[in-house]
């Protein structure tokens, strides 16, 4: 980056260092990052968890969270030195010339005030405009952001508005004082894909219309491709590389970036067709279920065959996890039945035999809560070995070691460790080993990769694929990520509002014609093409 351009810059950061307090000493978490942003430009900050994206984003407002401090470097915003400016000067900029959009709008709106009051607060306090002017502006912005009932929605309280709408209302609030710069901190991460589209396009239009500069923080490459003019890749508080979006996508220079880009390239090899005679390992037929009196599943049916993976996809609230609970017997079906190898299962796990329980195992989304923090890896994996197979002492130990080998963790190193001494990916591997220890025929994988960074997630998918081949396992793969579906599924079941909308082999599912909802879901998944959002919106506009 040539420094001669600096005078055109709105924001210039040089050698930024930030320290975080852990216990009694300070650790550096951002190690000398440079950043340049011109007026009206959108810079994408991308990286995995712990890359320091949010910390840098907040520092651009001259703000650090409790327990963090800027330890070196310079931040210049339009000629103002944010590192050394007084609290008062910094406060005068925030919400006025620099605004912030948080990840969770539901938590970041004050529950005690109406949306429009929170909108008007910044412009009035900073003396930008009158209350009347601010309210008129708010309604205009709500309309531009495609919020329903723009005249009326501002007079609601945050808990009376849906998540996607709140995120747009928060964007409107950030625009209130017509700032020069907005920091977007993962604004769509908490949203479903179909909602994400609306928010992304709304944000992009407003930012373009008002010629506002923005820093867009995300971990999702496809999202950043739609939003940013330039992309900066971060790793553990350091810059990896920076380039304009198109060249970054087409031709990444650094190995780390290339590996990020390559994650989505993993594909399990296609399998032979199911022989029509074989009995499915798991068969869900006409299952309905309810929480209390509220029905959540209606007439759900699908089969899973030996050695194959069925991906169950849908947005939150679609009933995919509930289906898993019915299969495992945690929730009793009110109607229909679940069969393992042709045998009808008792509806509650409490009535199932040890051998029936052994047949179906589960791998959880959050490896943190799936492993008992007070048990060693040896105990965690050893318990099912002993419980189901009756192995004790040396035999049990050998089996545990073999399982650790299977999940590619060195037994001597890990067998006596506690879960807290493992990384996220390693914990997920232990979860896989615990499931394998029961020697099951069928495993439910509940969003097993969604809490992991992309590289780690790919490793887990590869491992699951290898294990499936080794033991001929049947998988039910619950996910909301279609990239994962593409990578690993043989059959796909699409769910919405507790019903199966469409089901069939993967290839058929990804080739039109689709059911309308499948189409909406599939087309909403951001792609790595910078023109994807434009094309999609145009398509939908025509339809």
């Amino acid at each position: 980056m040539s420094h001669s351009k600096e005078k055109d810059n709105l924001l210039t950061i040089r050698g930024l260092r930030i320290e975080g307090k852990s216990g009694d000493h300070w650790n550096e978490i951002v190690h000398g990052v440079d950043l340049d942003l011109k007026r009206g430009e959108v810079l994408g900050l991308i990286g995995e968890s712990g890359a320091g994206k949010s910390t840098i984003g907040l520092a651009a407002m001259g703000f650090t969270r409790d327990g963090c401090r800027i330890s070196g470097g310079a931040i210049d915003f339009d000629g103002i030195d944010l590192v050394h400016a007084t609290q008062k000067v910094r406060r005068g900029l925030r919400g006025h010339r620099i605004a912030y959009v948080a990840q969770s709008a539901a938590a970041s709106f004050n529950p005690a005030h109406r949306l429009i009051d929170q909108y008007c607060e910044s412009p009035i306090v900073h003396g930008v405009m009158s209350r009347e002017q601010a309210e008129t502006d708010a309604i205009d912005l709500y309309r531009r952001l495609h919020l329903p009932n723009p005249e009326e929605i501002g007079f609601r309280y945050p808990h009376q508005v849906s998540g996607g709408q709140l995120q747009r209302a928060m964007t409107a609030m950030a625009m209130a004082s017509k700032p020069d710069l907005i920091i977007f901190d993962e604004p769509t991460t908490a949203l479903d894909v179909t909602t994400q589209i609306e928010v992304l396009s709304a944000i992009r239009d407003v930012v373009r219309d008002f010629h506002t500069a923005a820093i867009y923080i995300t971990h999702d490459l496809a999202v950043v491709a739609q939003m940013a003019d330039r992309v900066k890749v971060l790793l553990k508080g350091e810059e990896v590389e920076e380039a304009d979006t198109r060249s970054m996508l087409d031709d990444p220079k650094e190995d780390y970036t290339k590996s990020l880009w390559a994650v989505r390239s993993f594909h399990a090899e296609a399998k032979a067709d199911i022989s029509t005679q074989s009995t499915p390992v798991v068969s869900v037929s006409h299952v309905s279920a309810a929480y209390g009196k509220v029905p959540v599943l209606h007439d759900v049916s699908f089969d899973i065959h030996k050695g194959r993976t069925v991906a169950v996809v849908g947005e939150s609230g679609s009933g995919k996890s509930t289906t898993a609970r019915v299969i495992t017997g945690l929730l009793a079906a009110s109607d229909g039945e679940v069969r393992f190898n042709g045998h009808v299962m008792p509806t509650s796990y409490k009535q199932r035999s040890k051998d029936q329980l052994r047949q179906a195992q589960m791998i959880y989304q959050m490896a943190d809560t799936a492993l008992n923090p007070k048990q060693t890896i040896g105990e965690i994996i050893g318990r099912p070995v002993q419980f189901y197979l009756g192995l004790r002492g040396k035999a049990r130990l050998e089996r545990v070691r073999a399982l650790l080998d299977e999940i590619e963790l060195e037994p001597d190193l890990y067998i006596n460790r506690l879960p807290s001494e493992l990384s996220g990916g390693q914990k997920q591997r232990i979860g896989i080993a615990r499931a394998l220890a029961a020697e099951p025929e069928f495993i439910i994988c509940d969003e097993v990769t969604s809490a992991l960074d992309q590289l780690v997630a790919e490793g887990i998918l590869k491992l699951l694929n290898k294990v499936q081949k080794d033991f001929g396992l049947a998988y039910m793969f619950i996910t909301h990520d279609l990239a994962t579906v593409r990578a690993i599924a043989d059959e796909v079941v699409v769910m919405q509002h507790g019903k199966v909308v469409e089901a069939g082999p993967k290839d058929a599912m990804f080739t039109p014609p689709h059911h309308a909802y499948t189409d909406l879901l599939l087309s909403s998944i951001p792609e790595m093409d910078p023109d994807w959002l434009d094309k999609l919106l145009k398509q939908r506009g025509e339809a």
Partner: protein, 271 residues
């Protein structure tokens, strides 16, 4: 052990004081110059070389009774707290693990029992059953068990919803195994801290009842009743009756300091 080095002054102070009390408790007969109920002189002798802290309203040595009272008051409080934890803790764990109607029945009954202020309830029960030592321990332990139940249930609930407990259930593990291996090890830290707090509470309650003449009965030496027996001295400006009260205060302060530090530690480590 590393933790000990980082302990603040207040926690150190607390630990040393507790140690001191434990020594008093264990070696009371050796440390006390006179017997617990031995009448050695006239009533209300002033402080002297023989009777370091003077004598009480019956002419017994004040210092000796203070030392013996450590054994009696703390012993009763400890037994009571253990009993309360055994009953309340076990019920709380059952309610959290089983859920459903067991939880409903336990929780609703405990709600009603907790709706009566505990000192008042204790007074009512002691009126009816009489103020023997056994009754005192059982009544206070049961009243305190309600509080232990609430806490145990609440912390166990946060563990029961964890996926690893669900995994154990789906594996087919029995109830006791779930409690012993999956839940209990994960709630030990808050339970130990709560033990300290409940001990203080029980200890203060027993002292209060003794002070009212309804707790530990004479001639057993006990800090609460020692304050009551010698209170008339206070009107003469003599602070001797404040010593047993101070002994109570010092111990509860010490325990609270240690518990405060422990709670701080366990919450700090989570962040």
């Amino acid at each position: 052990m590393k933790l000990l080095k980082t302990a603040p002054v207040s926690a150190w102070f607390g630990m040393i004081v507790i140690l001191f009390y434990v020594v008093l408790m264990l070696f009371a007969p050796i440390l006390a110059p006179f017997g617990e109920t031995e009448i050695v002189a006239y009533e209300f002798e002033p402080w002297s070389e023989t009777y370091l802290l003077g004598t009480d309203n019956l002419g017994r040595d004040m210092l000796s009774r203070l030392i013996y009272a450590a054994r009696n008051t703390m012993g009763v409080a400890l037994i009571t707290t253990f009993l309360a934890f055994t009953v309340g803790g076990f019920m709380g764990l059952l309610a959290a693990t089983l859920g459903g109607w067991v939880d409903q029945i336990f929780s609703r009954s405990i709600d009603v029992l907790m709706a009566i202020p505990s000192l008042i309830f204790a007074l009512l029960l002691l009126t009816i059953f009489g103020t023997s030592l056994g009754n005192l321990i059982v009544v206070i332990a049961l009243l305190d068990a309600t509080r232990v139940y609430r806490l145990t249930r609440a912390v166990a609930m946060t563990i029961v919803v964890m996926d690893y407990v669900e995994a154990a259930r789906l594996r087919g593990e029995g109830l006791l195994w779930q409690i012993r291996k999956e839940i209990l090890p994960n709630i030990m830290a808050p339970l130990v801290a709560e033990f300290g707090l409940r001990f203080c509470f029980v200890f203060l309650m027993i002292s209060a009842l003794s002070f009212l003449g309804l707790g530990i009965q004479p001639p057993t030496a006990d800090w609460g009743s020692m304050v009551r027996d010698n209170a008339s001295l206070i009107t003469f400006g003599d602070i001797t009756p404040l010593l047993p009260a101070g002994a109570i205060a010092l111990l509860t302060v010490a325990v609270n300091f240690v518990v405060d530090w422990m709670l701080h530690q366990s919450s700090g480590l989570k962040e």
